[in-house]
Protein backbone atom coordinates (compact mmCIF):
# COMPACT_ATOMS: atom_id res chain seq x y z
CA UNK A 1 0.00 0.00 0.00
CA UNK A 2 1.49 3.30 -1.03
CA UNK A 3 1.43 6.49 1.01
CA UNK A 4 -1.26 8.02 -1.18
CA UNK A 5 -3.78 5.44 -0.08
CA UNK A 6 -2.63 5.61 3.55
CA UNK A 7 -3.72 9.17 3.72
CA UNK A 8 -7.31 8.47 2.85
CA UNK A 9 -7.70 5.23 4.82
CA UNK A 10 -6.12 6.29 8.12
CA UNK A 11 -6.67 9.95 8.77
CA UNK A 12 -4.46 10.82 11.76
CA UNK A 13 -3.56 14.22 13.18
CA UNK A 14 -1.72 15.01 9.94
CA UNK A 15 -4.21 13.30 7.67
CA UNK A 16 -2.14 10.12 7.74
CA UNK A 17 -1.38 7.42 10.26
CA UNK A 18 2.31 7.40 11.18
CA UNK A 19 2.07 3.70 12.07
CA UNK A 20 1.13 2.95 8.49
CA UNK A 21 3.73 5.33 7.14
CA UNK A 22 6.32 3.57 9.26
CA UNK A 23 5.73 0.34 7.31
CA UNK A 24 7.06 2.13 4.27
CA UNK A 25 10.45 2.41 6.00
CA UNK A 26 12.36 -0.91 5.94
CA UNK A 27 14.71 0.17 8.73
CA UNK A 28 11.94 -0.40 11.26
CA UNK A 29 11.21 -3.93 10.09
CA UNK A 30 14.90 -4.70 10.47
CA UNK A 31 15.19 -2.99 13.86
CA UNK A 32 11.81 -3.76 15.39
CA UNK A 33 12.44 -2.07 18.75
CA UNK A 34 13.87 1.11 17.27
CA UNK A 35 12.42 4.45 18.33
CA UNK A 36 14.12 6.78 15.89
CA UNK A 37 14.13 10.37 17.12
CA UNK A 38 17.09 11.73 15.19
CA UNK A 39 15.55 12.79 11.89
CA UNK A 40 16.97 16.29 12.26
CA UNK A 41 20.42 14.72 11.83
CA UNK A 42 19.23 12.53 9.00
CA UNK A 43 15.92 10.95 8.10
CA UNK A 44 15.32 7.29 7.33
CA UNK A 45 14.48 6.30 3.74
CA UNK A 46 11.17 4.97 2.44
CA UNK A 47 11.07 1.80 0.38
CA UNK A 48 10.24 3.80 -2.75
CA UNK A 49 13.52 5.74 -2.54
CA UNK A 50 15.67 2.69 -1.81
CA UNK A 51 14.06 0.46 -4.40
CA UNK A 52 13.61 3.19 -6.99
CA UNK A 53 17.29 4.09 -6.92
CA UNK A 54 18.31 0.44 -7.19
CA UNK A 55 15.86 -0.03 -10.05
CA UNK A 56 17.34 2.94 -11.90
CA UNK A 57 20.77 1.28 -11.79
CA UNK A 58 19.26 -2.00 -12.94
CA UNK A 59 17.37 -0.66 -15.94
CA UNK A 60 18.39 2.81 -17.11
CA UNK A 61 21.88 3.59 -15.89
CA UNK A 62 24.38 5.47 -18.06
CA UNK A 63 26.20 8.77 -17.81
CA UNK A 64 24.14 11.84 -18.64
CA UNK A 65 24.16 14.73 -21.11
CA UNK A 66 26.71 13.51 -23.56
CA UNK A 67 25.46 10.25 -24.99
CA UNK A 68 23.57 9.80 -28.23
CA UNK A 69 22.45 6.28 -27.33
CA UNK A 70 19.11 5.45 -25.73
CA UNK A 71 20.33 4.46 -22.28
CA UNK A 72 22.13 7.76 -21.92
CA UNK A 73 19.12 9.68 -23.22
CA UNK A 74 16.89 7.90 -20.70
CA UNK A 75 19.33 8.59 -17.91
CA UNK A 76 19.54 12.27 -18.84
CA UNK A 77 15.77 12.50 -18.98
CA UNK A 78 15.39 11.01 -15.51
CA UNK A 79 18.08 13.27 -14.07
CA UNK A 80 16.50 16.39 -15.53
CA UNK A 81 13.05 15.21 -14.47
CA UNK A 82 14.38 15.13 -10.90
CA UNK A 83 15.33 18.77 -11.36
CA UNK A 84 11.76 19.53 -12.38
CA UNK A 85 10.51 17.83 -9.24
CA UNK A 86 12.76 20.01 -7.12
CA UNK A 87 11.56 23.09 -8.97
CA UNK A 88 7.97 22.21 -8.11
CA UNK A 89 8.90 21.31 -4.51
CA UNK A 90 10.27 24.85 -4.00
CA UNK A 91 7.87 26.50 -6.42
CA UNK A 92 10.76 28.09 -8.27
CA UNK A 93 9.74 29.74 -11.49
CA UNK A 94 12.45 28.30 -13.68
CA UNK A 95 14.12 24.87 -13.71
CA UNK A 96 17.46 26.51 -14.44
CA UNK A 97 17.37 27.93 -10.91
CA UNK A 98 17.89 24.46 -9.42
CA UNK A 99 21.52 23.41 -8.93
CA UNK A 100 22.33 19.93 -7.67
CA UNK A 101 25.08 19.87 -5.03
CA UNK A 102 26.20 17.35 -2.40
CA UNK A 103 24.37 18.81 0.59
CA UNK A 104 23.36 22.07 2.24
CA UNK A 105 26.94 22.66 3.28
CA UNK A 106 28.12 22.64 -0.31
CA UNK A 107 25.22 24.85 -1.41
CA UNK A 108 26.27 27.54 1.06
CA UNK A 109 29.96 27.21 0.20
CA UNK A 110 29.03 27.58 -3.46
CA UNK A 111 27.29 30.89 -2.78
CA UNK A 112 30.18 32.09 -0.62
CA UNK A 113 32.91 31.11 -3.04
CA UNK A 114 31.19 32.04 -6.29
CA UNK A 115 28.79 34.90 -5.58
CA UNK A 116 30.62 36.07 -2.46
CA UNK A 117 34.14 36.11 -3.84
CA UNK A 118 32.99 37.76 -7.08
CA UNK A 119 30.63 40.40 -5.76
CA UNK A 120 31.69 41.22 -2.21
CA UNK A 121 34.51 43.54 -1.26
CA UNK A 122 36.52 44.15 1.85
CA UNK A 123 34.32 45.75 4.47
CA UNK A 124 31.06 44.47 3.01
CA UNK A 125 28.89 42.85 5.64
CA UNK A 126 27.27 39.44 5.78
CA UNK A 127 24.67 39.06 8.53
CA UNK A 128 24.07 35.64 10.04
CA UNK A 129 22.41 34.74 13.35
CA UNK A 130 23.24 33.01 16.58
CA UNK A 131 20.95 30.18 15.56
CA UNK A 132 23.12 29.01 12.68
CA UNK A 133 24.52 25.57 12.03
CA UNK A 134 28.29 25.48 11.47
CA UNK A 135 27.52 25.07 7.78
CA UNK A 136 26.14 28.59 7.69
CA UNK A 137 29.00 30.05 9.75
CA UNK A 138 32.28 28.56 8.57
CA UNK A 139 31.86 29.28 4.82
CA UNK A 140 31.50 32.96 5.69
CA UNK A 141 34.54 32.83 7.97
CA UNK A 142 36.56 31.32 5.12
CA UNK A 143 35.35 34.13 2.87
CA UNK A 144 36.21 36.68 5.57
CA UNK A 145 39.74 35.29 5.74
CA UNK A 146 39.99 35.39 1.96
CA UNK A 147 38.63 38.81 1.07
CA UNK A 148 38.00 40.64 4.33
CA UNK A 149 34.22 40.81 4.56
CA UNK A 150 32.78 41.50 7.98
CA UNK A 151 30.67 38.86 9.66
CA UNK A 152 27.81 40.32 11.70
CA UNK A 153 25.87 38.09 14.08
CA UNK A 154 22.23 38.78 14.92
CA UNK A 155 21.40 37.72 18.47
CA UNK A 156 18.55 35.63 19.83
CA UNK A 157 16.06 37.07 22.29
CA UNK A 158 15.36 35.80 25.79
CA UNK A 159 12.89 33.23 24.50
CA UNK A 160 15.37 31.70 22.07
CA UNK A 161 13.90 33.16 18.87
CA UNK A 162 15.70 35.50 16.50
CA UNK A 163 15.65 39.01 17.97
CA UNK A 164 14.05 40.82 15.03
CA UNK A 165 14.47 44.29 16.52
CA UNK A 166 18.16 43.76 17.12
CA UNK A 167 18.46 42.19 13.67
CA UNK A 168 17.01 45.29 12.07
CA UNK A 169 19.49 47.60 13.79
CA UNK A 170 22.37 45.56 12.30
CA UNK A 171 21.29 46.22 8.73
CA UNK A 172 22.86 49.07 6.82
CA UNK A 173 24.09 50.06 3.41
CA UNK A 174 27.10 47.86 4.02
CA UNK A 175 24.93 44.76 4.41
CA UNK A 176 25.23 42.77 1.20
CA UNK A 177 23.86 39.43 2.31
CA UNK A 178 21.68 38.07 5.07
CA UNK A 179 22.23 34.32 5.50
CA UNK A 180 19.98 32.75 8.10
CA UNK A 181 18.34 29.48 8.84
CA UNK A 182 14.67 28.92 8.10
CA UNK A 183 14.53 26.75 11.21
CA UNK A 184 17.18 26.22 13.88
CA UNK A 185 18.42 22.65 14.03
CA UNK A 186 19.55 22.85 17.67
CA UNK A 187 16.27 24.12 19.10
CA UNK A 188 13.57 23.82 16.45
CA UNK A 189 12.98 27.58 16.49
CA UNK A 190 11.18 28.79 13.39
CA UNK A 191 12.63 32.02 12.08
CA UNK A 192 10.19 34.62 10.69
CA UNK A 193 11.89 34.53 7.34
CA UNK A 194 9.28 36.61 5.51
CA UNK A 195 10.12 39.51 7.84
CA UNK A 196 13.84 38.86 7.48
CA UNK A 197 13.59 38.96 3.69
CA UNK A 198 11.54 42.15 3.71
CA UNK A 199 13.96 43.93 6.04
CA UNK A 200 17.03 42.73 4.19
CA UNK A 201 15.67 43.69 0.80
CA UNK A 202 14.74 47.11 2.12
CA UNK A 203 18.47 47.59 2.72
CA UNK A 204 19.38 46.23 -0.68
CA UNK A 205 20.86 43.03 0.72
CA UNK A 206 20.39 39.60 -0.79
CA UNK A 207 19.01 36.76 1.31
CA UNK A 208 20.10 33.15 1.60
CA UNK A 209 17.91 30.80 3.62
CA UNK A 210 19.20 27.54 5.05
CA UNK A 211 16.23 25.24 4.59
CA UNK A 212 17.83 22.04 5.92
CA UNK A 213 15.29 21.61 8.70
CA UNK A 214 12.36 23.46 7.15
CA UNK A 215 12.25 21.64 3.81
CA UNK A 216 11.23 18.29 5.35
CA UNK A 217 8.63 19.88 7.62
CA UNK A 218 6.90 22.83 5.90
CA UNK A 219 5.60 23.81 2.50
CA UNK A 220 8.33 26.02 1.00
CA UNK A 221 7.62 28.54 -1.75
CA UNK A 222 10.71 30.49 -2.74
CA UNK A 223 8.69 32.94 -4.83
CA UNK A 224 6.38 33.73 -1.94
CA UNK A 225 9.35 33.95 0.44
CA UNK A 226 11.12 36.22 -2.02
CA UNK A 227 14.54 34.90 -1.01
CA UNK A 228 17.49 35.02 -3.39
CA UNK A 229 19.04 31.67 -2.46
CA UNK A 230 17.56 28.66 -0.72
CA UNK A 231 19.55 25.57 0.31
CA UNK A 232 18.47 22.15 1.48
CA UNK A 233 19.92 18.68 1.81
CA UNK A 234 18.53 15.45 0.39
CA UNK A 235 19.19 13.11 3.28
CA UNK A 236 16.88 15.07 5.59
CA UNK A 237 13.92 15.01 3.20
CA UNK A 238 13.91 11.19 3.21
CA UNK A 239 16.24 11.09 0.20
CA UNK A 240 19.69 9.57 -0.35
CA UNK A 241 22.99 10.87 0.99
CA UNK A 242 25.26 12.76 -1.38
CA UNK A 243 22.67 15.05 -2.93
CA UNK A 244 21.46 18.53 -2.03
CA UNK A 245 20.01 21.56 -3.71
CA UNK A 246 20.88 25.19 -4.18
CA UNK A 247 18.08 27.33 -5.48
CA UNK A 248 19.24 30.70 -6.79
CA UNK A 249 17.36 33.38 -8.71
CA UNK A 250 18.28 32.98 -12.36
CA UNK A 251 19.49 36.53 -12.72
CA UNK A 252 21.95 35.96 -9.86
CA UNK A 253 23.10 32.52 -10.97
CA UNK A 254 23.76 33.66 -14.50
CA UNK A 255 26.03 36.45 -13.29
CA UNK A 256 28.02 34.14 -11.03
CA UNK A 257 31.41 32.69 -12.02
CA UNK A 258 31.96 28.92 -11.89
CA UNK A 259 32.60 27.27 -8.57
CA UNK A 260 34.42 24.13 -9.70
CA UNK A 261 35.87 23.52 -13.16
CA UNK A 262 35.63 20.36 -15.23
CA UNK A 263 33.40 18.38 -17.53
CA UNK A 264 29.68 19.14 -17.94
CA UNK A 265 30.04 22.79 -16.99
CA UNK A 266 31.77 24.07 -20.10
CA UNK A 267 30.73 25.21 -23.53
CA UNK A 268 34.17 25.17 -25.05
CA UNK A 269 37.63 24.59 -23.66
CA UNK A 270 40.95 25.63 -25.07
CA UNK A 271 44.13 26.06 -23.10
CA UNK A 272 43.84 29.83 -23.35
CA UNK A 273 40.20 30.45 -22.78
CA UNK A 274 37.20 28.54 -21.63
CA UNK A 275 33.54 29.37 -22.12
CA UNK A 276 31.07 28.19 -19.51
CA UNK A 277 27.59 26.77 -19.77
CA UNK A 278 24.54 28.59 -18.51
CA UNK A 279 23.12 27.78 -15.08
CA UNK A 280 22.54 25.25 -13.67
CA UNK A 281 25.15 23.25 -15.59
CA UNK A 282 27.81 25.88 -15.01
CA UNK A 283 27.75 24.85 -11.36
CA UNK A 284 27.63 21.09 -11.86
CA UNK A 285 31.20 20.20 -12.79
CA UNK A 286 31.98 16.56 -13.46
CA UNK A 287 29.65 13.60 -13.46
CA UNK A 288 26.85 14.50 -11.07
CA UNK A 289 25.28 12.21 -8.49
CA UNK A 290 22.76 11.02 -11.04
CA UNK A 291 21.26 8.27 -8.91
CA UNK A 292 21.21 10.64 -5.91
CA UNK A 293 19.21 13.23 -7.84
CA UNK A 294 16.77 10.60 -9.04
CA UNK A 295 16.44 9.25 -5.50
CA UNK A 296 15.83 12.76 -4.22
CA UNK A 297 13.09 13.19 -6.81
CA UNK A 298 11.42 10.00 -5.55
CA UNK A 299 11.71 11.26 -1.96
CA UNK A 300 9.99 14.50 -2.93
CA UNK A 301 7.22 12.47 -4.57
CA UNK A 302 6.84 10.61 -1.28
CA UNK A 303 6.55 13.87 0.65
CA UNK A 304 4.06 15.34 -1.79
CA UNK A 305 1.94 12.22 -1.62
CA UNK A 306 1.73 12.44 2.15
CA UNK A 307 0.99 16.12 1.72
CA UNK A 308 3.19 18.86 3.04
CA UNK A 309 0.47 20.56 5.04
CA UNK A 310 -0.33 17.16 6.52
CA UNK A 311 3.28 16.66 7.52
CA UNK A 312 3.38 20.05 9.17
CA UNK A 313 0.18 19.28 11.08
CA UNK A 314 1.51 15.90 12.09
CA UNK A 315 4.73 17.40 13.40
CA UNK A 316 2.96 20.26 15.12
CA UNK A 317 0.62 17.91 16.95
CA UNK A 318 3.41 15.56 17.95
CA UNK A 319 5.71 18.41 18.99
CA UNK A 320 2.94 19.70 21.23
CA UNK A 321 2.48 16.28 22.77
CA UNK A 322 6.24 16.03 23.30
CA UNK A 323 6.47 19.43 24.98
CA UNK A 324 3.73 18.45 27.42
CA UNK A 325 5.17 15.03 28.10
CA UNK A 326 8.71 16.31 28.72
CA UNK A 327 7.41 19.05 31.00
CA UNK A 328 6.46 16.27 33.42
CA UNK A 329 10.03 15.08 33.79
CA UNK A 330 11.75 16.49 36.85
CA UNK A 331 14.91 18.48 36.18
CA UNK A 332 14.28 18.62 32.43
CA UNK A 333 14.60 22.05 30.87
CA UNK A 334 13.44 22.42 27.28
CA UNK A 335 15.43 24.91 25.24
CA UNK A 336 13.49 27.96 24.19
CA UNK A 337 12.47 28.38 20.62
CA UNK A 338 10.79 31.75 20.46
CA UNK A 339 7.27 31.98 19.12
CA UNK A 340 7.13 28.61 17.46
CA UNK A 341 9.00 25.35 17.39
CA UNK A 342 8.55 22.42 15.04
CA UNK A 343 9.69 18.84 15.16
CA UNK A 344 12.63 19.36 17.50
CA UNK A 345 12.83 19.00 21.28
CA UNK A 346 16.20 19.99 22.64
CA UNK A 347 16.72 19.79 26.38
CA UNK A 348 19.00 19.71 29.36
CA UNK A 349 18.47 17.05 32.00
CA UNK A 350 19.81 18.59 35.17
CA UNK A 351 22.92 16.90 36.45
CA UNK A 352 23.17 14.35 33.67
CA UNK A 353 25.48 14.91 30.74
CA UNK A 354 23.81 14.59 27.30
CA UNK A 355 26.21 11.82 26.36
CA UNK A 356 25.12 9.79 29.32
CA UNK A 357 21.47 10.56 28.65
CA UNK A 358 21.67 9.38 25.09
CA UNK A 359 23.66 6.30 26.09
CA UNK A 360 20.91 5.19 28.44
CA UNK A 361 18.28 6.08 25.85
CA UNK A 362 20.10 3.91 23.33
CA UNK A 363 19.91 1.01 25.77
CA UNK A 364 16.15 1.55 25.61
CA UNK A 365 16.39 1.58 21.78
CA UNK A 366 15.61 5.28 21.65
CA UNK A 367 17.95 7.02 19.19
CA UNK A 368 18.51 10.73 19.91
CA UNK A 369 21.40 13.06 19.40
CA UNK A 370 23.65 14.43 22.16
CA UNK A 371 26.08 17.29 21.87
CA UNK A 372 26.36 20.67 20.28
CA UNK A 373 24.44 19.78 17.11
CA UNK A 374 27.00 21.69 15.05
CA UNK A 375 25.82 24.88 16.69
CA UNK A 376 28.60 25.53 19.17
CA UNK A 377 28.21 29.32 19.20
CA UNK A 378 24.55 28.93 20.16
CA UNK A 379 25.42 26.43 22.88
CA UNK A 380 28.01 28.79 24.30
CA UNK A 381 25.51 31.63 24.18
CA UNK A 382 23.11 29.43 26.16
CA UNK A 383 25.84 28.46 28.63
CA UNK A 384 25.72 24.79 27.70
CA UNK A 385 28.30 22.46 26.22
CA UNK A 386 25.49 20.52 24.60
CA UNK A 387 21.97 19.22 24.86
CA UNK A 388 20.04 16.08 24.20
CA UNK A 389 17.88 16.47 21.12
CA UNK A 390 14.89 14.42 20.04
CA UNK A 391 13.60 15.19 16.57
CA UNK A 392 10.60 13.97 14.65
CA UNK A 393 9.83 12.45 11.29
CA UNK A 394 6.72 11.27 9.47
CA UNK A 395 7.12 7.80 11.02
CA UNK A 396 6.98 8.94 14.66
CA UNK A 397 3.90 8.83 16.85
CA UNK A 398 2.89 9.42 20.44
CA UNK A 399 4.09 6.00 21.52
CA UNK A 400 7.62 7.03 20.51
CA UNK A 401 7.38 10.08 22.75
CA UNK A 402 6.13 7.90 25.58
CA UNK A 403 9.12 5.58 25.13
CA UNK A 404 11.40 8.61 25.18
CA UNK A 405 9.86 9.85 28.41
CA UNK A 406 10.19 6.44 30.08
CA UNK A 407 13.81 6.16 29.07
CA UNK A 408 14.55 9.65 30.33
CA UNK A 409 13.18 8.70 33.72
CA UNK A 410 15.46 5.68 33.76
CA UNK A 411 18.44 7.89 32.93
CA UNK A 412 17.59 10.26 35.73
CA UNK A 413 17.35 7.41 38.15
CA UNK A 414 20.63 5.92 37.11
CA UNK A 415 22.65 9.08 37.52
CA UNK A 416 20.81 10.96 40.25
CA UNK A 417 20.14 8.26 42.78
Amino acid sequence: MGPASLRSVYPGPGGFDPKEVKREFPIFANNPDLVFLDSAASAQKPRSVIDGTAEYYRTDYANVHRGVYRLSARSTERYEEARDKVRRFLNASDRREIVFVRNTTEAINLVAQSWGAAFLREGDEVVISELEHHSNIVPWQLLRDRIGIKLVVAPIDATGGLDLAAFETLLSRRTRLVAVTHMANATGALVPVERVVALAHRHGAKVLLDGSQAAPRLPVDVQALGCDFYAFTGHKVYGPTGIGVLYGRFELLSAMPPYQGGGEMILHVSFDKTEYQEPPHRFEAGTPDIAGAIGLGIALDFIEELGRENIREHEEALTGYGVDRLAQIRGLRLLGAGQRRLGILSFDLEGVHPHDVSQVLDQHHVAVRAGHHCAQPLMEQLGLSGTTRASLGVYNDEADIDRLAEALKAAREMFLR
Binding site: H353, P354, H355, D356
Partner: protein, 154 residues
Protein backbone atom coordinates in the same frame (compact mmCIF):
# COMPACT_ATOMS: atom_id res chain seq x y z
CA UNK B 1 25.26 -5.40 23.25
CA UNK B 2 26.25 -5.80 26.84
CA UNK B 3 24.33 -4.58 29.83
CA UNK B 4 24.70 -0.88 30.40
CA UNK B 5 25.83 -1.51 33.95
CA UNK B 6 29.08 -2.86 32.58
CA UNK B 7 29.72 0.56 31.10
CA UNK B 8 28.42 2.49 34.08
CA UNK B 9 29.83 0.43 36.92
CA UNK B 10 29.28 1.76 40.43
CA UNK B 11 32.81 3.03 40.72
CA UNK B 12 32.31 5.09 37.58
CA UNK B 13 28.99 6.51 38.69
CA UNK B 14 30.61 7.36 42.01
CA UNK B 15 33.65 9.12 40.50
CA UNK B 16 31.33 10.75 37.94
CA UNK B 17 29.23 12.26 40.70
CA UNK B 18 32.06 12.99 43.09
CA UNK B 19 35.23 13.53 41.14
CA UNK B 20 38.50 13.46 43.13
CA UNK B 21 41.22 16.05 42.57
CA UNK B 22 38.71 18.28 40.82
CA UNK B 23 40.52 21.57 41.38
CA UNK B 24 42.96 23.92 39.80
CA UNK B 25 46.67 23.85 40.72
CA UNK B 26 47.67 27.48 40.91
CA UNK B 27 51.25 27.11 39.74
CA UNK B 28 51.53 23.82 37.87
CA UNK B 29 54.79 22.92 36.18
CA UNK B 30 52.74 21.50 33.32
CA UNK B 31 49.18 21.75 32.08
CA UNK B 32 47.12 21.18 28.96
CA UNK B 33 43.54 21.33 27.78
CA UNK B 34 41.82 18.43 26.08
CA UNK B 35 38.85 18.82 23.78
CA UNK B 36 36.33 16.26 22.59
CA UNK B 37 34.98 17.52 19.26
CA UNK B 38 32.08 15.08 19.41
CA UNK B 39 30.39 16.86 22.30
CA UNK B 40 32.41 20.03 22.75
CA UNK B 41 33.57 19.03 26.23
CA UNK B 42 36.88 20.29 27.51
CA UNK B 43 39.06 19.16 30.37
CA UNK B 44 42.16 20.86 31.77
CA UNK B 45 44.87 18.76 33.39
CA UNK B 46 47.31 20.35 35.89
CA UNK B 47 50.55 18.65 36.88
CA UNK B 48 53.30 19.49 39.34
CA UNK B 49 56.43 17.53 38.59
CA UNK B 50 59.11 17.01 41.19
CA UNK B 51 62.03 15.91 39.06
CA UNK B 52 60.56 13.08 37.07
CA UNK B 53 57.90 12.26 39.62
CA UNK B 54 54.27 13.47 39.59
CA UNK B 55 53.97 15.28 42.89
CA UNK B 56 50.46 16.51 42.23
CA UNK B 57 47.91 16.16 39.46
CA UNK B 58 44.38 17.55 39.20
CA UNK B 59 41.73 18.44 36.63
CA UNK B 60 38.85 20.73 35.88
CA UNK B 61 36.22 20.89 33.18
CA UNK B 62 32.84 19.74 32.05
CA UNK B 63 32.23 16.21 30.91
CA UNK B 64 30.04 13.16 30.90
CA UNK B 65 30.13 10.54 33.65
CA UNK B 66 32.71 8.51 31.75
CA UNK B 67 35.11 11.34 31.05
CA UNK B 68 34.78 12.77 34.55
CA UNK B 69 35.33 9.39 36.17
CA UNK B 70 38.25 8.69 33.85
CA UNK B 71 39.96 11.95 34.78
CA UNK B 72 39.25 11.42 38.45
CA UNK B 73 40.60 7.86 38.51
CA UNK B 74 43.59 8.92 36.47
CA UNK B 75 44.59 11.59 38.97
CA UNK B 76 44.26 9.12 41.83
CA UNK B 77 46.34 6.49 40.13
CA UNK B 78 49.09 8.81 38.93
CA UNK B 79 49.99 10.64 42.07
CA UNK B 80 53.54 9.67 43.00
CA UNK B 81 54.26 7.88 39.74
CA UNK B 82 57.13 8.77 37.40
CA UNK B 83 56.30 10.16 33.97
CA UNK B 84 57.59 6.93 32.44
CA UNK B 85 55.20 4.93 34.60
CA UNK B 86 52.38 7.26 33.60
CA UNK B 87 53.12 6.63 29.95
CA UNK B 88 53.27 2.88 30.42
CA UNK B 89 49.91 2.96 32.20
CA UNK B 90 48.35 5.03 29.42
CA UNK B 91 49.67 2.68 26.76
CA UNK B 92 48.16 -0.29 28.57
CA UNK B 93 44.89 1.50 29.30
CA UNK B 94 44.55 2.79 25.77
CA UNK B 95 45.05 -0.67 24.32
CA UNK B 96 42.45 -2.20 26.61
CA UNK B 97 39.93 0.62 26.20
CA UNK B 98 40.05 0.30 22.42
CA UNK B 99 39.87 -3.48 22.47
CA UNK B 100 43.44 -3.80 21.20
CA UNK B 101 46.25 -6.02 22.40
CA UNK B 102 48.15 -4.61 25.38
CA UNK B 103 51.74 -4.10 24.30
CA UNK B 104 53.54 -5.75 27.20
CA UNK B 105 52.85 -6.84 30.74
CA UNK B 106 53.15 -4.14 33.33
CA UNK B 107 55.42 -4.60 36.33
CA UNK B 108 53.55 -5.63 39.49
CA UNK B 109 52.76 -2.32 41.25
CA UNK B 110 51.58 -0.76 37.98
CA UNK B 111 49.51 -3.82 37.19
CA UNK B 112 47.56 -3.16 40.36
CA UNK B 113 46.89 0.41 39.35
CA UNK B 114 45.75 -0.87 36.00
CA UNK B 115 43.20 -3.00 37.81
CA UNK B 116 41.72 0.16 39.24
CA UNK B 117 41.29 1.54 35.71
CA UNK B 118 39.74 -1.69 34.47
CA UNK B 119 36.08 -0.58 34.94
CA UNK B 120 36.64 2.15 32.36
CA UNK B 121 37.62 -0.29 29.64
CA UNK B 122 33.92 -1.14 29.26
CA UNK B 123 33.89 1.63 26.65
CA UNK B 124 35.46 -0.73 24.15
CA UNK B 125 31.95 -1.98 23.36
CA UNK B 126 30.87 1.62 22.63
CA UNK B 127 33.22 3.09 20.02
CA UNK B 128 31.70 6.56 20.30
CA UNK B 129 32.61 6.64 24.01
CA UNK B 130 36.27 5.61 23.81
CA UNK B 131 37.13 9.26 23.38
CA UNK B 132 35.41 10.09 26.66
CA UNK B 133 37.56 7.59 28.56
CA UNK B 134 40.86 8.64 27.02
CA UNK B 135 40.47 12.43 26.76
CA UNK B 136 42.12 13.22 30.10
CA UNK B 137 45.00 10.87 29.33
CA UNK B 138 45.63 12.55 26.01
CA UNK B 139 45.60 15.90 27.75
CA UNK B 140 48.05 14.61 30.33
CA UNK B 141 50.36 13.39 27.61
CA UNK B 142 50.23 16.81 25.97
CA UNK B 143 50.85 18.50 29.33
CA UNK B 144 53.97 16.44 29.91
CA UNK B 145 55.24 17.11 26.40
CA UNK B 146 54.90 20.83 26.20
CA UNK B 147 52.98 23.23 28.30
CA UNK B 148 49.65 24.91 27.88
CA UNK B 149 48.86 23.14 24.68
CA UNK B 150 45.41 22.19 23.40
CA UNK B 151 44.81 18.62 22.33
CA UNK B 152 41.88 16.62 21.14
CA UNK B 153 41.33 12.91 21.36
CA UNK B 154 42.41 11.01 18.30
Amino acid sequence: MMDLRELYQDIILDHGRHPRNFRKIEHPTHFAQGHNPLCGDRVTIYVTLDGDRIADVSFQGRGCAISTAAASLMTEVLKGKTTAEARALFAQFHARATGGEPAADLPEPLAEEMDRLEPLTGVKAYPARVKCATLSWHALEAALKGSGEMVKTE
